[in-house]
């Protein structure tokens, strides 16, 4: 078979190659440094310490719960956002994007104004039940949902827009009501998009720092997640901070690799 010569296309001009290499090094070198400088001899002791295990457990549990919440409320929001001819869609999308660009600490303060003990919703809640979110694991989850939700919504909205809407029409002519179409056709078609969005959301939740420390504080065992533990350790014991960072890195990479095979090319 004859194929046109495409070798000229894969030749990278120097003008692009140099900055591309710089960018790649900039991303990879810190990770290499992390792994190289970690005091591996102390690894056993640090990783078995109560603080580290508690923080890791709290992080994984809260990030997972957050991701479940994000999927449950984010997919419907994405569906609404992707409705053809929805008025105000661009305004809505801008609102959803705000947590992406907002400094997380500001997000934490904002959560306080609404859900703090004297917040808009927090005050009546506290007066009625005696319960307040701040400084509980629930606050950790709320902070994570706040920062992670946009990742999932935008990812799923993209998948919905890319999915051929004529499949929905075909299902409809076969007698399926809109809810059935969504459950049996749309959801499976955008499954990979949901999975990708959920992984991004989980990773974002796992790494959440600013909104968490502002809204939930840093109490060992209840609100001190891995990123907080790393930050605190850095002031007292830099070596253990490095080890904890490597652990967090390892968990993130492991989840990404495990899920990658599940969402790529399902049919």
């Amino acid at each position: 078979m004859l194929s046109p010569d495409q070798s000229w296309q894969s030749r990278v001009p120097l003008l692009l190659a140099v900055p591309a290499a710089v960018a790649l090094l900039f991303l990879v070198l810190p990770l290499v440094g992390l792994v190289m400088r970690a005091p591996w001899a102390d690894a056993g002791a640090v990783l078995r310490s109560e603080g580290a295990l508690q923080a890791l457990q709290l992080s994984v549990i809260t990030a997972t719960v957050s991701t479940i919440i994000v999927v449950l409320i984010g997919v419907p929001l994405a569906w609404v956002l992707a409705l053809p001819g929805l008025r105000g869609a661009s305004v809505l999308r801008a609102l959803i994007t705000i947590p992406l660009v907002l400094p997380p600490v500001v997000g934490g303060v904002a959560l306080f104004t609404v859900l703090g003990r004297s917040g808009l919703l927090g005050r009546p809640l506290y007066q009625l039940t005696g319960f307040a979110f701040p400084f509980t694991p629930y606050a950790v989850i709320l902070a994570q949902v706040f920062v992670a939700l946009p990742f999932l919504v935008l990812s799923v909205e993209g998948a919905l827009r890319a999915a051929d809407r004529r499949y929905k029409e075909a299902a409809s002519t076969l007698g399926a009501r809109p809810v059935t179409v969504f459950r049996r056709i749309t959801l499976p078609l955008i499954g990979p998009g949901i999975a990708a969005g959920a992984v991004l959301a989980w990773a974002r939740a796992l790494g959440e720092f600013g909104a968490t420390i502002t809204f939930a504080g840093s109490f060992p065992g209840t609100t001190r997640t891995m990123p907080l533990e790393v930050y605190l350790a850095l002031e007292t014991d830099p070596g253990s901070a490095l080890l904890l960072s490597v652990l967090l890195l390892g968990v993130s990479v492991a989840v990404l690799v495990l899920l990658r095979d599940r969402w790529v090319s399902r049919w």
Binding site: A171, A176, R177
Partner: protein, 357 residues
Amino acid sequence: MVAELFADLGVARDDFTLDLGLHIGAGEVVALLGPNGAGKSTALRALAGLLRLTSGQITIAGRVVADPLSGVHLAPYERSMGVVFQDYLLFPHLTVLDNVAFGPLVQGFERSEARRRAAGWLARVGITDLASAKPRSVSGGQAQRVALARALATEPRVLLLDEPLAALDAKTHLLVRAEVRRHLGDFAGATLLVTHDPIDAAVLADRLVVIEQGRVVQQGLPQEVARRPRTDYVARLVGLNLLAGRGQGHRVLLPTGGSVELAESAFGDLYVAFRPAAVSLFVHRPDGSPRNLWSGRIATIEPHGEGVRVEIGGAPDRRSSVFAEITPSAVAELELVPGSEVWAAVKASDIEVYSGD
């Protein structure tokens, strides 16, 4: 007879208006034929409920499913119309069996019963062995059968087929057409077949409706339409030369100045049609006297089936042209090339003349 499908479709958009009446009886197959942009797809989408009517009414077996005047617009899932889409739109995440079982399942049958019914349909269209295959791994002809089985499995009152054979290669096309014909013969409801292929239409349909620019320009039995076209589009479709003019006894005067001699006498607004094969070509003015003899210049020469189709510009008059169909050896013998001067002759008895009303 009460038509199974009675439709008066009015769809008005900025640059296009569809105004189409369709009446299809139970067991009848009607082909909707027309050039690209004539409104065929719009009509099909309006019938299926994927597009709102702006005026008119749709009734299926006596039940009004759309009537904008009284605010009725049933959703596609409430209409009992099966649709076979042009590119089939098989659900990529479901097996062939579950694609076909989808309709019965959402209609409320148990999964096992839905699958049993689907398996029955797969057997009827002859693809039982593909039951557990995913749509991306089946061929075009197989996908067409799955799509047909999926639409029929809902047991619709009306079946809509959108260019069902257009995506198939030539060999599969003939094979699948014969099968579709058999299944349409077994189908008890009304069938509307949207196509731009006159042969598919003639083979599959009992009746043709031809639309251009959103309006019906001709309808009737396939052989009627094929013999007596009424627009240039239909004439080209069925491969006839068509001229319109005014009958004055044994002669039809064309508005562009030429004339055509007839074997019988005719009056009023008329169409005259004749087969390209009835047109003989001569390099020199022939002896004898065929009733119609026109001189012209060859505009195009194109292979057509086993013969050659030659367009002669300037016949019967300066602003008209006619097609002749001759053998390749005749082209060589007469040394015909575009630009050659030729004489075109047509016997009066080979000319079909009919009223333009």
